[in-house]
C-alpha cells in the first residue's frame, strides 16, 4: 500500500469524571490512507498497550455510522471535517501526511466525561423516556395497512427518525442545545397518524425533561444541522416549537401522565 502517513495527535486524556483532564501528544505512524479514523486510533492504542500504557478510551461499536456510539470532536468539528458522516466513517485519506489532529470529547455540562473521549449521554435516554413513544402495548393493535399514510409523510417521518442519538448537535451548538435531537423524535411521531393522540402531551414532557437536563436554548445558528451526520433538518425544531406553543396556549391539559404504575 502506498502513501503511508505520519501524524501528530493532541488527545484529551481524563481519568474519570472527577479528575481534571489535559491534552497529551502522541505520534501516529505508518498510517494507511484507507484506514478509518478509529482504526488509526486502534493502531495508536496497540502501541500504547505494548508499552503497558493505558490506551485512549473512546466510545465506538458498529463502525458503520448507525449505532451513534462514536463521538469525537476532531479539529473543531463533531465527527471531523467531512459532512454527513460519523467519525467511524471518516477515513484517513481526508488528512495530509504530517498533519496535527486535535481530538476532544463532546463538551457539554449535560454530557459529563466518563473517561478520555467518552461522555455520559444518558440525558438523551431520559428525554426519550419522558415521552418519545406511542403508548401502545404489545398485541391488540390494528392491521398495519388499515391507516394509509401518504408516502411524502412517511418519508418525512423517516428522515426525522434517522437520528442516531450521537450528540453531535449538542457538541456543535454554542449553547449546548439538544433541540435538534429532541425535535427529531417529536416530529417523527407528530407527523404520523399513530402519534397524534399523545402529540401535545409528548412535546411538553420531552421539552420539560430537556430543560431539566441542563441543555441550553436554541438561538438559530444552525450549527447542529450543519454538523449532524444524518442531516436532520432545522425544520424539526420549527415543528417542535409550533407544537410546543400550541400545547401551551390551547392544550396544556394534555400534559403527560408522570404517575408511575398502571
Amino acid at each position: 500500500m502506498s502513501g503511508h502517513m505520519n501524524l501528530t495527535l493532541k488527545v484529551w486524556r481524563q481519568k474519570n469524571t472527577q479528575t481534571p483532564g489535559k491534552f497529551v501528544t502522541y505520534k501516529a505512524e505508518n498510517i494507511s490512507p484507507d484506514m478509518s479514523f478509529l482504526e488509526m486510533l486502534d493502531v495508536v492504542n496497540e502501541s500504547l498497550t505494548r508499552k503497558n500504557e493505558e490506551p485512549i478510551y473512546f466510545d465506538h461499536d458498529c463502525r458503520e455510522g448507525i449505532c451513534g456510539s462514536c463521538s469525537l470532536y476532531i479539529n473543531g468539528h463533531p465527527h471531523g471535517p467531512k459532512k454527513a458522516i460519523t467519525t467511524c466513517q471518516l477515513h484517513m485519506r481526508t488528512f495530509n501526511d504530517g498533519e496535527t489532529i486535535t481530538i476532544e470529547p463532546w463538551r457539554s455540562a449535560a454530557f459529563p466525561i466518563v473517561k478520555d473521549l467518552a461522555t455520559d449521554r444518558s440525558a438523551f435516554d431520559r428525554i426519550q423516556q419522558a415521552g418519545g413513544y406511542v403508548s401502545v402495548n404489545t398485541g391488540g393493535v390494528p392491521d398495519a395497512n388499515i391507516i394509509p399514510i401518504p408516502k411524502v409523510i412517511a418519508d418525512e417521518a423517516f428522515n426525522s427518525a434517522t437520528c442516531i442519538g450521537c450528540g453531535a448537535c449538542v457538541a456543535a451548538c454554542k449553547n449546548a442545545s439538544a433541540m435538534l435531537f429532541t425535535s427529531a423524535k417529536i416530529t417523527q411521531l407528530g407527523l404520523l397518524p399513530q402519534g397524534q393522540t399523545e402529540r401535545y402531551s409528548r412535546v411538553q414532557a420531552m421539552v420539560a425533561q430537556m430543560d431539566e437536563e441542563g441543555f441550553g436554548n436554541c438561538t438559530n445558528t444552525g450549527a447542529c444541522e450543519a454538523e449532524c451526520p444524518k442531516e436532520i433538518s432545522l425544520n424539526n425544531i420549527a415543528f417542535m416549537n409550533n407544537d410546543f406553543f400550541s400545547a401551551k396556549l390551547f392544550r396544556e391539559e394534555h400534559a403527560h401522565d408522570h404517575a408511575g404504575g398502571e
Binding site: C62, I66, S122, Y133, G139, P142, N145, A154, L192
Partner: protein, 644 residues
Amino acid sequence: MSLDAKIPQGPLAEKWSKHKFNLKLVNPSNKRKYDVIVVGTGLAGASAAASLAELGYNVKSFCFQDSPRRAHSIAAQGGINAAKNYQNDGDSVYRLFYDTIKGGDYRAREGNVYRLAEVSVNIIDQCVAQGVPFAREYGGLLDNRSFGGSQVSRTFYARGQTGQQLLLGAYSALNRQIHLGKVKMYTRTEMLDVVVIDGHAKGIITRNLKTGEIETHAGHAVLLATGGYGNVFYLSTNAIGSNVTAAWRAHKRGAYFANPCYTQIHPTCIPVTGDHQSKLTLMSESLRNDGRVWAPKTVEIAQKLQKKEISASDVKEEDRDYFLERKYPSFGNLVPRDVASRNAKEMSDEGKGVGTTGLAVYLDFAEAIQRLGEDTVRAKYGNLFDMYLQITDENPYKQPMRIYPAVHYTMGGLWVDYNLSTNVPGLYAMGECNFSDHGANRLGASALMQGLSDGYFVIPYTLGDYLATIGPKPVDKNHPAFEKTKQDVIAYNNKLLALKGTKTVVEYHRELGHIMWEYCGMARTEEGLTKAKAMIKELKADFWKNAIVTGENEEVNAALERAGRVADFIELGELMVTDALNRRESCGGHFRLESQTEEGEALRDDDNFAFVSAWEFTGENQEEVLHKEELIFENVKLTQRSYK
C-alpha cells in the same frame, strides 16, 4: 440429560394456538411479585423487556453499551419478512414456513419455524402502531421488496435502515416502561456469569463498566438476548463490541450450546483491503433485487482488472459471466446467502476474482440505472451507495461495486426448547443468541423477524408458564451461590489483569480469526479442522501466558473487557471446530468439501445427521459432550435444495 424440545403435538398450524392455551398463566396481581432479568437490548431483548413489563412483571434490563438504543440490531439494513401477502403474489404463512425450512437446508424444527411465520404478521402491525416509518407506496400502503431464497415480495423495509427503525420502535416501548417504573435499566453493565441455585437460574453477576464494581442481581428468571458470535472470526459485519461472553458463561454453567458450526457468510460485503481493518461492512442483500453479480469469463481479463490495466466498464458484455443468473435461472441473483457466497468464492478460487487482491466479484447496477434512472436507484439504496463510497472511495453509480463474502450471522447458539428455555430451568435465550429457527442457513430479513417474534410474541406467553410453576416466593439473595459466583468472577478478572506479557489481546483475537476463517469458514475439511483444533489449543495456552491486559478493575477498562471476551471466543472457537468436525455432511452454511453434489452444492446426509448438536460443557480443557436432538419432519419432504 435427555433433550426434550417440547414441541406441541397436533397439526402444524394448530401447535402454537393449542400450546398457548395449555400454558399456565400468572394472574395480573401476582405478576408484580416476579422479577425478571433481561440481558441485552437489541430487538429480542428490548421487545421482551417492554412486553413483560407491560404485563406487570418487574424487569431489570442490562446492556454493555452506553444506551439500549445502540445494540447491534440497529445496524440491520435490508428488511423484515412477514407473510402478509399484501402484494397478492401468492405468499402465505405456509410458504414463509416452507421457504425458511428449505433455506435452512432442513436443519431447523418445523414447529418453531411455523410459529415464526405465523406471528410474523403481528410484528408488522405492532411496529406500525409504534410509529415505525416503513417504506410506503404512493397509495399510502406498505411497500415490499424481495430477498434471497423466496419468489415472493414479503420484505418490509425502511430504506436501508430497517434494523435501526425497528430497534428504535422497541427502544421506545422500553423507554415507556422505564418511565412507568416497570423496567429498571442498567447501561454500561456487562453480564459475566449466571447464578444457578438447585439447578435453576436465579440471577446474574455483572461488572459496572464505569466503576468496575462486580454486582449481583437476583430474579425469578434470566433471559439472555445477547446476540451472535460472529466476531469469533475477528473480521465480521458485527459491531466491535458484539461478543459471546454472556452466552458462553451461561454455557459453562450448564446451558448446552447448539450447532456452533452453523455460521452465515454473507455474500455481499465490502472486500478486505489490509491488516489494519477492524471490521467488515455489509452491503444489504436488498441490493440483489437490482444489482447483477458477475465476474470476468476468463482468468486473463481478471488479471488485467486486478492489475488495474483495465476497468470493469472495459469488459465487454460477452466477456462477463453473470454466474448466479447462469447457474440458477429461477432464483438468479436472489439465491440464498450460502449459495451466493460459495459461488463468489469459487470464482475467486478459479482466478476470476477482481480488485487488487483478486478476492472480489462485481455487483453491477448499470442495468438498473438504465432501467429505473439514477434517482430511483438513489431513493432505494442511497445510504448504501454512500457507505460504499465512503469506505472505498469509488462511486458505485459509475462503476460496479466490488463485493466478497464476510461473516455476518451465527445460526448456532444456546440450545432452547419450543418455550425458548435452555436446559437450565429459568434460563432463557432469545434472538440470535439461541439456535432455534434458521437451521443451517438463515434467509435474509429473517433475523429481525425472529428477534421480535421471540421478544414480543413468544416469551410473554412461555415465561409465564415457568413462573406460575415456581411461584412468586422472592429469590433469596443471601443464598451462598450469589457470593460464590461473584467471587468466581472476581478471581477470573484478576487472573486476566495479572497478564503482563508481550502480545496484545487484539493480536490474539486477529490470530484466532485467521484460524477460524481459514479452516472453519466457507469450506471445511477433516484435515483442516483437525489442524485448527490443535492451533486453537496452542493459542489458548499462549494467551494465558503472554497476553497483555493493562489497567485495573476499579475503573473504565476497555482492555479488561476485551480480554474477557477474546478468552471466551477462543474457547468457543474450539467448540465450533469440534462441531464442524463431528458433522460429516454439508448443510447450508456448513460446507464440508468431502460432502458435495456433482455440481458443487451442499450434500446433506439426512440418515446420519438430521439432528441438532447440543454440546455440554464438562470442565476446563475437557472435551465437550454431544447430545443429539433428532429433527422430525412431518410436513415437508427432505430433498436436495434446488434454486435452479
